[in-house]
């Protein structure tokens, strides 16, 4: 059993691993985050990335900006769980998950998932699964600022 496998999602991780799962206010560079993932292995040949950005419209309404709120601690724990399940279930080499909180302008970055694998099929599967799962289990909330006012968004009514 490798060191990776005994790491539990509810134990804070340290060093490099902590950088692979983050909830942060600051913007990020995709090139820089890619370097972290690629540094893990020369065996990586296929990298699938999802980048979520703030659209100027949502369900037919104009949107001027977004504020994300998260449950500090639980949000990170759920994202660590997602990374570990992805590593275990999809045969990938590395997975990075990053989500921003605070004020987000239109066009700005919100969420980044990078899945590195030997081949592209596993990378795509893991990346797609991880963003779907993030939306399901991660305690993050979205306040949309529209010309008519502010509204807490319910994605799954």
């Amino acid at each position: 059993m490798s060191l990776e496998q005994v790491t539990k999602a509810d134990q804070p991780v340290t060093g490099d691993e902590a950088m692979l799962v983050r909830v942060q206010r600051e913007d990020f560079s995709i090139d820089e985050e890619l370097r972290r993932v690629r540094a893990r292995s020369k065996r990586i040949g296929g990298i699938a990335i999802f980048l979520g950005t703030a659209r100027d419209r949502s369900k037919g309404k104009d949107v001027d900006g977004i504020t994300f709120e998260h449950y500090e601690g639980m949000a990170q724990k759920k994202l660590r769980e997602i990374r570990e399940r992805a590593l275990k279930d999809f045969g990938i080499i590395e997975l990075l998950i990053l989500h921003r909180y605070g004020e987000i302008g239109i066009g700005d970055n919100i969420v980044l998932i990078i899945a590195g694998a030997e081949h592209r099929a596993e990378a795509f599967q893991a990346c797609k699964w991880a963003i779907d799962e993030l939306k399901q289990i991660t305690p993050i909330w979205k306040l949309e600022h529209t010309p008519e006012g502010e509204v807490w968004v319910e994605e799954h009514p």
Partner: protein, 85 residues
């Protein structure tokens, strides 16, 4: 007394309080806690009834029969909306 953290629309429905301090006179289970919240904050109570708002204990979603202990970290979680739509 237990402390219940609020987020997003539950925080808004509680007059922008970030947390509630509640006495649990009639039991120590999650459902007893929910009953106290329903009495004090009917709109949050309605969302709890519809399972739109979930209760977490120590950062995991909790069953209504789970017993609440001193020092537990409790929160009311509105529907998640991470990622982007």
């Amino acid at each position: 007394m237990v402390t219940v953290r609020l987020f997003g629309m539950t925080k808004m429905l509680a007059g922008n309080q970030g947390a509630l301090s509640l006495a649990l006179p009639d039991g120590r289970r999650v459902k007893d806690l929910v009953a106290v919240i329903e009495a004090a904050y009917p709109k949050i109570g309605e969302l709890l009834q519809k399972k739109k708002v979930l209760v977490s204990v120590n950062q995991d979603i909790a069953h209504e029969d789970l017993e609440v202990r001193d020092g537990d970290e409790i929160a009311l979680l509105p529907p998640f909306a991470g990622g982007n739509s």
